[in-house]
Subunit: 375 residues, 4 copies
Amino acid sequence: MIKVSIIGGSGYAGGELLRILLNHPKVTIGQVTSRQFAGELVSSVHPNLRKMTNLTFTHPDGSHPDGSHPDGSRPDGHPDVYPDNLSHCDLLFVALPNGISMGKMRNYMDVADRIIDLGSDFRIHDKDIFSKWYKKNHEDPELLNKFVYGITELHRKEIREAKYVSCGGCEATASILALYPLYKNNIIKDEVVINAIMSSSQSGMSVSLSSHHPERSGVVRSYMPTGHRHTAEIEQELVGIKPLISATSIDIVRGLHVTINTTPKIPITEKDIWKIYRQEYGDEPFIRIVKERSGIYRYPEPKILQGTNYCDIGFELDTSLLDTSPPGTSTNRLVIMAAIDNLVKGTAGQAVQDMNVMFGFEEREGLEFTGLHPI
Amino acid sequence: MIKVSIIGGSGYAGGELLRILLNHPKVTIGQVTSRQFAGELVSSVHPNLRKMTNLTFTHPDGSHPDGSHPDGSRPDGHPDVYPDNLSHCDLLFVALPNGISMGKMRNYMDVADRIIDLGSDFRIHDKDIFSKWYKKNHEDPELLNKFVYGITELHRKEIREAKYVSCGGCEATASILALYPLYKNNIIKDEVVINAIMSSSQSGMSVSLSSHHPERSGVVRSYMPTGHRHTAEIEQELVGIKPLISATSIDIVRGLHVTINTTPKIPITEKDIWKIYRQEYGDEPFIRIVKERSGIYRYPEPKILQGTNYCDIGFELDTSLLDTSPPGTSTNRLVIMAAIDNLVKGTAGQAVQDMNVMFGFEEREGLEFTGLHPI
Amino acid sequence: MIKVSIIGGSGYAGGELLRILLNHPKVTIGQVTSRQFAGELVSSVHPNLRKMTNLTFTHPDGSHPDGSHPDGSRPDGHPDVYPDNLSHCDLLFVALPNGISMGKMRNYMDVADRIIDLGSDFRIHDKDIFSKWYKKNHEDPELLNKFVYGITELHRKEIREAKYVSCGGCEATASILALYPLYKNNIIKDEVVINAIMSSSQSGMSVSLSSHHPERSGVVRSYMPTGHRHTAEIEQELVGIKPLISATSIDIVRGLHVTINTTPKIPITEKDIWKIYRQEYGDEPFIRIVKERSGIYRYPEPKILQGTNYCDIGFELDTSLLDTSPPGTSTNRLVIMAAIDNLVKGTAGQAVQDMNVMFGFEEREGLEFTGLHPI
Amino acid sequence: MIKVSIIGGSGYAGGELLRILLNHPKVTIGQVTSRQFAGELVSSVHPNLRKMTNLTFTHPDGSHPDGSHPDGSRPDGHPDVYPDNLSHCDLLFVALPNGISMGKMRNYMDVADRIIDLGSDFRIHDKDIFSKWYKKNHEDPELLNKFVYGITELHRKEIREAKYVSCGGCEATASILALYPLYKNNIIKDEVVINAIMSSSQSGMSVSLSSHHPERSGVVRSYMPTGHRHTAEIEQELVGIKPLISATSIDIVRGLHVTINTTPKIPITEKDIWKIYRQEYGDEPFIRIVKERSGIYRYPEPKILQGTNYCDIGFELDTSLLDTSPPGTSTNRLVIMAAIDNLVKGTAGQAVQDMNVMFGFEEREGLEFTGLHPI
């Protein structure tokens, strides 16, 4: 039994962590912080947790010689970084909005020996690449190399020994898991075109006209035709691959789906590809290859993954291009699809999977939910 | 550890049963029947169960002297009733479309000592009332009284001793649970107006133009302004209450919501009502009174109940009518709201809750899922 | 050809007015005001109007001796009421948020001889009833009686002569039109239970957590189980009727649907009711009685009314209660359904219909759009 | 004033044609055929047309010496091809399911001098290419070259003289219109990756489990990752371009959106691209270039196009790839987005636009609807 605390427990990632951890048999939850909701019941913000927990939110800051207490503001106007209200715990989950944790991470390191960051501040190992994509300098670049990138399937061994883990971004997680076996086995050309379909929970809880229901409902919104930040993560993890991402938002709350257009370097059959995926992922508890000849769920479908930690992956060779290729092969085009729940495998579930590895728990512990159908 | 089988495992109720039972620590699943999908993987119909189970569907019928095998049709043209392929088990769940199980129930009684029927054939104890609402005669009326009505909160004691249980209809379950404390304490007048909001999963898996996506999407469809069959169940369970139901379908897949307009017999305060609900339901594991002063989930909301066995109940006294009443009271109008997941508390979850009671398991066993937010 | 201007053209009602008026053959649009978007293209806020118009928003206020210009704020801090930037026009539409127009109306009366207000400030003729429901005193109660209530079907004759018209609220409009023939013919008892299903556009363009897509999506939210303000309008127009409204929000952007439970005073047949509706509404261009024996659009369905000015009305007598009544009759229960597009018949379309009547145009002019199917 | 008839008026394309033509000032509608609904009111199938028309469906076949009447079946079992019930008209619209019109077209040519086919049978000029993509031989290949491909913007001159026009497929229409200016000006490399997002109305009115609401709701379904038939149309119209289409269905009823990844042959700026689109499309009544720096409708959005004949087109150069290119240019990646209403610009609206050109009417006639916002 370990004691964990959560920094930033009122957002969607924090809420999902709570949902999972409250049912985890090896974990007790110490503190859950929220500046805005300090003192209130956790279930007042996450109504699905009613009757599950009486936890209340803790304010992340405490009294301090310079008078930062009680509202946490520092006299010098700097965003407060004193985690005085935090008690020691075995593992700290940091679920803060992007850009907030980098200046506070050293303080958090005093609170717990192990940290899992769910945000984007420590995903990129190279500070220049961070600057290029996040359009600002990293506040604590020396820490960047202390974090293991958190996609368990790629870094299980390092995570087992790690003190600090930074979970992958949701879009990057789906794309990397989809491409990794092909990349590792040197099957595809460098340039891949990724079309990502995004849900509204990815933008978090802050309201704006773009998330206002009458405007956001029913959309097919090209919110990032080019320039998606997760490009940097994919390039870091799959060195040499050149991902061309276009991200489109639609009217779903949870879920992420990628369609990836790749070009095989050599003639290849679907059977070959099956073999490669089975070889790399055959023992993975949270990856399923979904490719069926009939039925209506022939390929990865995010809606039935809601609440689960699965990454479903499928593929199709373009048989319409076979004319110029030997029978059953194509050197021309291989389309890969992958789907996850962005808040689970894309964030909180990935974090718990990493925790399970770090502490030697069974990797599926707490993550057994299998999803709903119909939904 | 008990062994259970499921008759009719390819429908939505059957799939939901499978999802719950596969995670139930006290249960192993024997057979799951399906005429249409016999021989196929259970997960080919319920894609959320991929990697969870290798179960395949069993054809419900077997070889038989009169030659009904192999397609199950009887030479005399009668819908087949020989459950020859079924092995003995401790508990049989029957999840067949309405009207199918009544002619087969005696055969099922040979297969298992205990039966839980999820359909509507054995909910009504009186054959004349059955005929009135179902527009046909019951095929085996003598069995009607052998079934306990399955809403656990009302019949826990009888269910504990029961061999045969018939789960309540989803709309009836929400309405009865919402009204029961007021009814029992003699608070409200007989006539109650129930506006039920329904989801598409309630109509099952058979396709039709009315469930065709372009037609069904975005609807506010008065599919049963009057004449809802669940009236009979409510009248049976809450004798004297006269429910006036209007049922409207909207564009949700799961979930059921009722808004019930009632008239208090006497001046009453919201505090009084709180007290009555707490008194009747304070110890119930699956009932939550939801009534908050602020926030956006002030009242029962079916979307956060998806996958859970909760029935959330809320209420509001009409303060605009207070002018003619003593302060804080109203003799005029009390509105009750309730929400459930129609496939869980309204069907499969209720069945498992009953099973837990029948076999002395902890009542929450297998039903711990707490729901997702956001969703 | 008349010249009209719109005060408050950047909201949803203002945008809908623009859409209709830009296609109206008898109207030219003078000014369209917006404080927030002054100087910007109308189509930057209402993207459906791209390529339709080059109109820009006018700031409602201008330079003024007391220095309120240029941002429109008055030195004394009072919300600005000087419509200096407004030019004279034949008709002024006022589409401001509730509570804003009452203090400014006299100024608007200088700008145009005729005014149609789309907000709620001038719907209620009695200032005490206004205070009761709007929880504040009216700022200019002497004007209340100068406005004709704008439901054309009830007040066509007065509107023809009127200088000032105040459109009905969307929920009130649907309920009043549904009940009026029964009320007028003295068919039903006073107490009616109205269950209204509401869309997200009714709350306007201001963002909040309650309209945040991840929270608002998929809801069945009891946002006003009792205490709906439109009660006051219904009581004013149908004197003696006592409406008990419960309003529930669902995941649609446009549309409003009411299910009204009424009690006939005398035995009555469906044929009688048909006759009454035909008699009252047979010549109405925007009312359709929708009641079919088969098909999937048997009753009023708001989704196919999007963009149209129709109010569809249907009804059903409760035949399950016939046991105690003479054949084909019921003294017990008559359920009425009605549907509108809240932004058209519930707001901007009603306003244009009134304009057509006021200026002697053909009543359907500009309002011919027939709706989409499928949608 | 011309007289037109519609073959196949009960489907979604036929319904949309009716909606548009009933409001067209230069057109009267003669006959509207439907085998299934012969004799019934057109508005019983298309409920949005209630109160707009009293037209009834005509059975396409009539009495005939060989006895095909009255149900239209021929004694030899061949699907009936005798259009005996059809009267002469000026223009015949054929809105039949794919594969049905090719065997009947010669008969239709007796009925009218001019024909516009909304289906796919006459889009491809080459019978071998037809066979490759449609997996069957064309029944009347000699007619293929008699049809002009119906995208008005590309073939206006030929359409003006044409007797027979075949409208483009919806996906092809959006893709071709998006790419045409770049193709014509020789800006991009041949290979383009097209990700198409599809709506449920594209599959028509036939029901199946894949269109069953509980299954179809909320999907992100890779229904055609490769092998989309519209590839053939794009290759025919933009000779040399090699489109790699992946089509994904989501939970919308109307609308089609494409994101096209292209590679400029030469360094190019966004200003250059603006210029090219303006030059080709500056005078087009139904094409809008949508590319804004701010706001939430910065790029083409199908939801606000519902009911309209617009094709909105936007683009973005990938500035993240600028490092290796001269300032403001990129040789690497240009993403194009386009959106249409699949039932209007993708089918019925395109047909009416072609009709307007064929008969010398103003091209916007009947197609003025500007779309709704919010929706």
